[in-house]
């Protein structure tokens, strides 16, 4: 290639923009061509001069500080806000899920504990030689018997025409709280009715529907500040029927 052709490529050569093969060929040409070599030298000198002279202005410390602060104020904030959109709701959900789970577990445990205690009371009573402390089918006898023994009063239903009969009553304790334990009978099935004060509504989380817990059918509800539990091995229908009678009376 003639020098004239090579000289068209000298800028690309000194700027490092020629393909490697072409740069190598030009390099070989330069070793044998003083004219082109001088031309390259001049271009390199000009490049170097402009490179040095061009680095002329330095920003002030104040400007640097201003720019840095403005970026720090907005950029990380933006990033943080981006994270906030994702992270904070996620954390809130996570914590909420954890709390809900813990709460449900606690409630479940508490419910299970209450049912277990009541089931124990029911079974113990059924197994006892003295089923009740006050033996009477008359609610007007049973209810006054509890006066002074428990810190509340309650109403009992009339049972004429119903298959249920009142056997009697005794004082029972649930979590150190005294309450009324009434025994009803239906077709040789004894059903325990427990009535406890529902302080601060702490028993409200217990389900009101009939549930089959600890081998017995249990229905429970809160009425006039009292928590009722109807526990027995009678059928669900009987448990529901007795519960309705008690509700209506309460």
């Amino acid at each position: 290639m003639a020098c004239e052709e090579w000289r068209k490529k000298l800028d690309g050569y000194v700027d490092g923009e020629l393909p490697p093969a072409e740069a190598a060929m030009l390099g070989a040409h330069l070793r044998g061509c003083a004219g082109c070599a001088a031309d390259v030298l001049e271009r390199v000198q000009l490049k170097r001069s402009v490179h040095v002279a061009g680095k002329r202005y330095e920003p002030s410390v104040e400007l640097r500080s201003k720019i840095t602060k403005s970026i720090a104020a907005r950029s990380p904030g933006r990033i943080a806000r981006r994270w906030e959109f994702v992270l904070i709701p996620a954390l809130v959900l996570l914590v909420a899920a954890f709390l809900l789970n813990s709460y449900l577990e606690r409630e479940q445990a508490s419910r299970q504990r209450v049912y277990s205690e009541l089931a124990d009371l029911h079974v113990t009573t059924m197994a006892s030689a003295t089923l009740v402390d006050v033996v009477s089918s008359d609610r007007h006898t049973v209810k006054p018997w509890f006066q002074g023994k428990i810190p509340f009063t309650f109403n009992l239903p009339e049972l004429p025409g119903s298959e249920f009969s009142l056997v009697g009553g005794r004082v029972a304790y649930l979590e150190q709280t005294p309450g009324a334990h009434l025994i009803y009978q239906i077709r040789k099935h004894e059903i325990s009715v427990f009535i406890f004060p529902d302080r601060d509504g702490e028993m409200r989380s217990l389900p009101t529907e009939v549930s089959h817990a600890v081998s017995f059918n249990v229905e429970t509800w809160t009425q006039n500040g009292l928590r009722y539990f109807v526990v027995g091995d009678a059928s669900v229908e009987d448990i529901v029927a007795l519960s309705k009678l008690l509700r209506d009376a309460g």
Partner: protein
């Protein structure tokens, strides 16, 4: 990478480039601040993996061109061809460059028309590749090469005048 990681290391160079464009300290500072503000706002539109340096230099240059000073200094160049760069023997200039001191080169650079000054700064000071320059100035590669050639010729010409003027002045 965050905006901070990409943009802050370019601060010194961006300011230098801005000062060369505006030829004024206060305007350069305003221009750099405006550039960072615009870049920060538009960072979400910056495509990761593309050339951030070319992107932010383009923002700076466009901001300058739309500024009061930029509008006044814009020079429309004659149509530039990408191919067929003239082959010139510049050997006599070799001695000339040797004689030019730093201050003289700075003066010559400052006197160049804006399109020549900026392309020389991007190539020689910022050491951008032709591709980066093409992206920054939004011109084709061929135009980069031809404009660079003409800018260097113009630089030589101004330097020659200065050196000749200096000789005559002695």
């Amino acid at each position: 990478m965050s905006f901070e990681d990409l943009a802050l290391p370019l601060f010194d160079q961006l300011y230098n480039f801005a000062h060369w464009l505006t030829q004024d300290k206060t305007e350069a500072e305003d221009l750099v601040q405006e550039t960072y503000a615009k870049a920060l706002r538009g960072f979400s539109s910056f495509q990761a993996g593309t050339n951030f340096r070319a992107w932010i230099y383009r923002i700076l240059r466009n901001s300058f061109l739309s500024s009061r000073t930029g509008l006044k200094t814009t020079v429309v160049l004659e149509e530039e061809g990408g191919e067929g760069l003239p082959a010139v023997n510049t050997t006599p200039e070799s001695l000339l460059i040797e004689q030019a001191n730093r201050e003289m080169v700075q003066q010559a650079l400052a006197e160049l028309p804006l399109p020549f000054r900026e392309i020389l700064l991007l190539c020689e000071v910022e050491e951008m590749s032709y591709q980066e320059i093409a992206e920054t100035l939004a011109i084709p590669m061929g135009t980069v090469m031809s404009r660079l050639f003409r800018a260097r010729q113009a630089m030589r010409s101004v330097l020659r005048e200065k050196i000749d003027g200096g000789r005559h002045g002695v």
